[in-house]
Symmetry: C2
Subunit: 230 residues, 2 copies
Amino acid sequence: MRDAYHEELDSIGDGLVEMARLVGSAIGRATTAILDSDLKLAENVIEGDQKVDELHHELEARAIALLARQQPVATDLRIVVTSLRMSADLERSGDLAQHVAKLARLRYPERAVPRDLHATILEMGQLAQRLMAKAAEVIITKDVDLALQLEQDDDAMDLLHRTLFQHLMDDRWKHGIETAVDVTLLGRYYERYADHAVAVAKRVVYLVTGEHADELQAADIPPVTGVETA
Amino acid sequence: MRDAYHEELDSIGDGLVEMARLVGSAIGRATTAILDSDLKLAENVIEGDQKVDELHHELEARAIALLARQQPVATDLRIVVTSLRMSADLERSGDLAQHVAKLARLRYPERAVPRDLHATILEMGQLAQRLMAKAAEVIITKDVDLALQLEQDDDAMDLLHRTLFQHLMDDRWKHGIETAVDVTLLGRYYERYADHAVAVAKRVVYLVTGEHADELQAADIPPVTGVETA
């Protein structure tokens, strides 16, 4: 009985990795779509999000079924609840990739991003994709050092976001209001996407070390490794 | 034993209502702060979000402790898992109210919102606050009709959001780029806030009717097969 349980738990983990792979690919393609004004690719990303949503609902259903049937406690309970949260983060990341693609579609055949911001948006897109790839790796390896690395990458994202704003606020901005609005929203989408990738990694850290675990400390459940947090 | 359990469940419900009350007040005050450029009120909202975060962590801890100790199944399990999600929605709404207040602080003593957009932003703020008040009422009364009403209110929010964009895209826009960026972000904050209020109400509907319950209906769906991406 417990073996079937842990197999199901592993399989939920596999589903999370698959979601991360899908939304990582989605943000990469959405970025290409918006930089190249590629309508077909944009629509491909928009439609593809349905698969992410389905996976999300399926993982939720399986996690809840697991809670009902196996009634896990301590570490196992923590893993299932954390999986629910990670699935929600990944689903939302997929939405944000879809938002980027929808903006590409809205402006087609025009380009939403002016030439002098291409490099910055490209870098944000690549960084977002890399963050999600690392988040997936963290889910697989449970590598705490790698997870902490994501926070540094997120600082880089904040820096890029600030660069974007400097461009916007520069008196020499000559791309008009519509483009300013588009670029503002794009910056926000990438920033939030990165936040969710970091959140996924942080939740793994919490599972492994018991740190950042305010909720469970209060619940009197000992952390996985027995390590007490300060 | 079951009585203590249901008391704890009620108490978690009370906590959710309290969170909704706090974040409802926060968006109202944040809106006043940004329209009046009231620094003190803005800071008050910014600091106040800590209380919301604390409540969120406390409710999460209690929900998880309840899962561990009481191992609920069926409806009771569904209530606890749904409470976790509602708490996350409310916590995020608090963040968004805080974002509005931070923008007010950033622009102080200037005003972030130009005169001709005051009415629209005021309406968005009021609608957001009303949506959250209704969400709280839905938690208390479990009134499905009221919950469905929130979706109509959300349509009104979308309409206001579109009005905002029409102003921005109007050739006669004369407030410059910085204000366009601010107004774009503000619009996004209110829209997302409303989304979370609606999500809270929808989760109650799901608890009461079992509808929109893909996850539980799908609980017996076999594991994920290969996924194709382009």
